[in-house]
Each structure stands twice: as structure tokens, then as C-alpha cells.
Symmetry: C2
Subunit: 350 residues, 2 copies
DNA sequence: AGTTCTGCTGCAAACGTTTGCAGTGAGGAG
DNA sequence: CTCCTCACTGCAAACGTTTGCAGCAGAACT
């Protein structure tokens, strides 16, 4: 029912190959013919069938984007940016949700492979070796995980975690907790590595809790354990968990940051809307989405390019961090903790 | 390079048509042959090329999902649910973002039309007539807008808005504001209609502000105007705007809900995490996503089905609504306002 | 004038499938 | 023994494109 290239050819009195060229290689067709063909096409409402084109050219003008959880607020800005960037280049984008499951992830890659020119694999839960294997079936760009030999885009969350721990140490915290992310997360390992380093450098002790699901309930679930452990500050794998943790802590009667400081990672929109406003490490999710699309579409056909982008992160100090327990029973004044008291007071009421 | 049906045929010593049937009509091929073919396919890593299949069958096993703004927290749960539901039926899903722009929306539908079996049009900004026109090119299911003659899924936000206004009236508010959504939004019109009705029934006056962009800044921007207008309670087009409004009100020195009550719509995850916790109308976004996919895939080929689903909404009373200004300088006790004082007191500090 | 070049167009094969039709052989009915 | 049926398989056309090759006319050389 929809108009095909043949209809346009008949209508404009030329061969289908001329119609085809009018669209895919306009310089090869006489300007007069071209305008005539275009007119007919317009009138018939013809739009080339990309699937048919893909069959012969091998380019689908589609890309896949696989994320762990669409509803996790970290991802939507990334998805949006990737979609926008892709569409600018006339690409469409399949979005799929692995539900934090490595096996689903693998299935998705395989299922999508034939109908895309490449796949953006975002915060994968699969093993490196499996990813490498899959990358031989379809071009892959990995986001949030560094794999040598594959094009990757990472946010330098190690740097950010270091800054966060430095910040906490600077506030006088000596016993710091780390709420780990899900098993299989490269980012979580990086954070752990870097936080441990920074803690050691600052003469603080680091206690790791987890792995945990990277969700709000996941954060809330460890609140009691955190409290029992006696740490005075906590760095969470992401903002969602930090928020869950804060809720859990409140439920247990602890005050943030008076009794315990919390810092998150990601700087999702939510983090400045909750109370207390969350101190967090801002990760450039949108930029990562764009960079990944660029990277995927850049090496047109020469697979095996192995570009690598590392995006800066940044510590955003808000109200969820405050001075650590003071041995002299007097809080150390100064530093970024200045903003905290207001939040403390306000929360002390509840 | 990837294995085709022909490779499998050669390897297993049968004709390609037999291989094809092994996958698409297994009962037509001898069990022995079938297992042999399957073995070869497995070994060669063969997966049917869906684009090629689509070319001849006309079914792509893809669906499109067009939303106004991926990053608007209302949509991700819907997207996630739709994707999951689609995948269960072995469908993949294109996600696209119209940026609240009707023209982009139209382009997207047209661009996607040829490579999907149908499109989910979510909170469209286009005109009804254009949507009807497009629905002749590709099966459409419209979410959040009622159009006779087309399959639609709506959340009964009129009912919810009515409940919200009743709630406010019950709290003693007589001058109520309505923060409208974007121009072209059917939902916004519905809310307005229903809120006006409920207000009139309750003997209250309704003032409409807008239209506005359905975002947090959009809500914040009208704060001053709202304050000047003298309304004592406000219903916002969505939670995001309600939250923005609350921020704006705070910035102007007003207290919520002591000076002014605010209720949102959607019940996004955020709304119970902010302070004060937002009273809001819960809309079943995930259920809508699932229902829409079902509807699209249900009438396999018999277009022109015109199913219609209306999903219940529900008022969730939290802490952002409190008693209205009392002529006798004494707050009316009772009703759902009981929960409010705590929030009031806590916020009065800032 | 003959030759080569250039710009345009048509022809037909190919991409990886599905599917109506026809062919095969075996088994059962008469 | 013949005929029919049945289960299975092969053949080839078709889906809507792209693209290498060849043809053709006219222009530009020699």
C-alpha cells in the first residue's frame, strides 16, 4: 500500500535505478530529472524503505542502546542525549533494558546485532571476555567500563570518588563506609579502588558494604548495618542508594549529616531536591551518551578502532556532608561544612 | 560474514526453504531433519535476519515509542514497561524523543513508519487531525489522549484532578490555582475541565496559569504570579512543575503548605522524596505502557480496531497540602489535613 | 571526420528471507 | 497391483532496494 520506488519510477517515467540514485547519489542524475522525480516522490508520499536498503548496503542506520535499568534516573539523560545525537546523523535507536541481568544483556546484543550498525553497551554486567566475543559479531561501544581493545567511554568516577573521600577526610572523618554497587559493575570496582587509596592516603579506614542492588531500597537496606559499624561518613555507589540510605538512617533515628555524612555519585536531578541536599560526584551522563554515539558512528567501517574517552567528574558539595566526630568534643569549624548546620537543625526536628 | 540461511542449508544438506521452515513453521519439517538443521544453525551461530524477513512478511517485529521528553521522570517507567512487554512478545522497541515539538513528532512517525509494525504515540503534541492522517500510514496507539476512531490508552486524570480539587476544597480552600501544562496537551485540557467542574461544585474559584513547559523551571517560573494572585492552593499539571513551584514559592518566602497548598499529578518516584512530601494524583504509567503495547500487538492485522482503555488514577495525600485560610482564624480540624502540621512546622524553620 | 570523453540512464543481479506450488516416495485402501 | 493420500522437501518468485556494467547521445578533442 505505501508507495515504493517502483511507483515513483512509473509515475515519473524513469527507471527505478534513477529514482534510487535521486536519493542516494543525487549528483549522478540530471537536475531536471531529479526535480521531476522528487516531485513525484513527494506527491506519492514516498519514503525509502530502510530495511530493504539495509539488506543490500549492510547499513541499517539503526543503533542499539542497552542499559541496566531505564527507570534508574541516571540513564534517561544519557538515553536522551544518545537519541538526539543519533537522530542528528539520521540514525534511529533501539533501547533495551537488561534488568541488571548479564544473561539478558547477552541475549539482547545477539537479538539486536542483525538490525543495527552497532550497539552501545551501557554499564554492562557481563564479563569482559564475553563482551569481547560479542564485539566480533557487532560493533560495540562500551560505556562505563574500560576494556582494552574495545572503544569505550568512561566517566572518571575514580577521580570523583577520590575527591569525595578527600572531602570527607578533610571534614575530620576517619572511619568511612563504602556502599558498593551491583556485582559485575566495573564502576563499583573503580570506586572501591580509588576510595581505598584516598582513604589510606588520608589516614582513614574504609569499610565496604555490599555488593547491593543499585537502587533506593538497595541503599535503605544497609542503613542498619552501616549504623552498627560505627562509620561516621559514607560514600554510596550512586545517588539513588545514597538517598535510600539517608531514608534508612532517618528511620533508624540517625541524623544526616549531624550523626553521619553521606555522599552520592551521579548528581541526578533528584539529588538537589531532597532534604538534605545531597553532596555528590557529578558524572556527565549526557556527554557520555553523545560521545559514545560519535565513537560508534565515527569509524564507519574500519572496525577494530579502539578509541577511548574518559570524561571528567566533579564533586558537588551540598548539605549531606558535615564535620566528623571530634575527639575534643568541639566541631572543627571551617571547610565546606559551613553550609551544613542549617540542614542539621532543620532535620533535627523530625 | 555472519551466517545466513544458505550456510546452514549447505552445512546440513537441505534446501534453504527447509531451513526457513525449521524456524518459522517447524511442524512442516521432519523431526530428524529439524534437529539436524537446528544443530548446524547453533554451531554456525545463525540467527535469522529480521530485516530480510520483514521485507517479505511485512512484519518487522519492531515498534516505535515516541515520547515528549525521555528525561521527564514520568516517562521512564512507561518506557521500561513498554519495552519489557514488547520484548516478551519478541518485539524490539525504537525510542524517540520529540522534545515537546509537534513537527519533530510528525517527522519521527514518518521516519519510523516503514520499519515498525506500529507506533506508540505518547502524550502527543500534534493535532488530532494530523494524528488521524498519520494513522493511515502506520498503526498508531495513542497514550494520554482520547481520539475517537483510534486505539487509545488514557489515564483518567480528570477523575484524579477532581479528587484533588475536592481534597483542597475539603481543606477549606476557596481560591484555587491551576498550573496548566504545555499547549496542545490533551491531558492539560482534561485537567482544566475537570478541575473547573469540581471547583464550581465545591463553591471555589479556579484561576488558570499558563500554558507552561511541563518542567521544573516551568513550575518555578509561575511562583511569583501565583503568589500575587492570592490563591491558597494550587494544582499543577505534573509533579515536576509542582516541585518547581514549591521551590519558587520557598524562594519568595512562602511556606508550603502553611501559606499555600500544592498538589501535583503523576506520583513520580521523586514526589515522596522531596520535602514536604508531595500530595499528588498517582497515574499508572507502567500499566499504560503495557496496555498500549498489548493493544498495538493485539489486532494483528485487522487495523481499524478502536479499542480504548482508561486507567484509574488515585489521590495520594502526603504533606504538601494543609488547611486553607480560615475566616475565623482557626483551622478546621479533621479531614486529611491531619498529616500536615508536622511538615508545616519543620518547614517553618527555613 | 573520426575518436575519445562525459553525463546520464537503463538493465539485471544481488541482499536474506518466506511461501505457493509442484514433486517425491512411502504407506494404506480398494 | 493400482490409486490416493500424506508427510516431507525442493523450486522459484517475490519483497524494495542498490550498484556494477553497459549503452547512448552529444560535446570536445585531434
Amino acid at each position: 500500500m505505501p508507495a515504493t520506488i517502483r511507483d515513483v519510477a512509473r509515475e515519473s517515467g524513469v527507471h527505478i535505478s534513477t529514482v534510487s540514485r535521486t536519493f542516494s547519489a543525487p549528483h549522478l542524475v540530471n537536475p531536471d530529472t531529479r526535480t521531476r522525480v522528487l516531485a513525484c516522490a513527494e506527491q506519492l508520499g514516498y519514503r525509502p524503505n530502510r530495511a530493504a536498503r539495509a539488506l543490500i548496503t549492510g547499513r541499517t542506520y539503526n543503533v542499539g542502546l542497552i542499559v541496566a535499568d531505564i527507570a534508574n534516573p541516571f540513564f534517561p539523560p544519557l538515553i536522551k542525549a544518545a537519541e538526539s545525537q543519533a537522530r542528528q546523523r539520521d540514525y534511529h535507536i533501539f533501547v533495551a533494558d537488561s534488568n541488571e541481568d548479564a544473561a539478558v544483556e547477552e541475549d539482547l546484543v545477539r537479538a539486536l546485532a542483525k538490525q543495527v550498525d552497532g550497539i552501545l553497551l551501557c554499564s554492562p554486567r557481563m564479563s569482559n571476555s564475553l563482551i569481547e566475543l560479542l564485539s566480533r559479531e557487532v560493533p560495540l561501544v562500551v560505556i562505563n567500563r574500560q576494556i582494552t581493545g574495545l572503544p569505550t567511554v568512561v566517566m572518571d568516577v575514580a577521580q570523583g570518588a577520590g575527591l569525595a573521600v578527600d572531602h570527607l577526610v578533610g571534614l575530620g572523618h576517619r572511619r568511612i563506609g563504602l556502599i558498593a554497587g551491583p556485582r559485575g559493575s566495573w564502576t563499583s570496582k573503580e570506586i572501591r579502588r580509588s576510595a581505598a587509596l584516598a582513604a589510606r592516603a588520608g589516614g582513614a579506614e574504609l569499610t565496604v558494604f555490599g555488593p547491593n542492588p543499585p537502587t533506593e531500597p538497595g541503599g535503605a537496606a544497609v542503613a542498619e548495618q552501616v549504623l552498627r559499624s560505627g562509620v561516621s561518613a559514607v560514600l554510596a555507589y550512586n545517588d539513588l542508594m545514597a538517598i535510600g540510605l539517608i531514608e534508612g538512617l532517618h528511620a533508624q533515628g540517625a541524623r544526616v549529616p549531624a550523626d553521619i555524612s553521606v555522599v552520592g555519585i551521579d548528581d541526578i536531578a533528584l539529588s538537589r531536591l531532597i532534604h538534605p541536599k545531597l553532596t555528590t560526584v557529578a558524572t556527565p551522563a549526557a556527554a557520555a551518551g553523545r560521545a559514545a554515539v560519535d565513537m560508534l558512528l565515527a569509524h564507519g567501517d574500519d572496525r577494530r578502532t579502539t578509541a577511548h574517552a574518559s570524561l571528567q567528574t566533579e564533586l558537588v558539595i551540598r548539605d549531606s556532608t558535615g564535620p566528623g566526630p571530634d575527639p575534643h568534643s568541639h566541631a572543627d569549624p571551617g571547610d565546606a561544612a559551613a553550609a551544613a548546620p542549617r540542614a542539621v537543625a532543620s532535620y533535627a526536628k523530625e
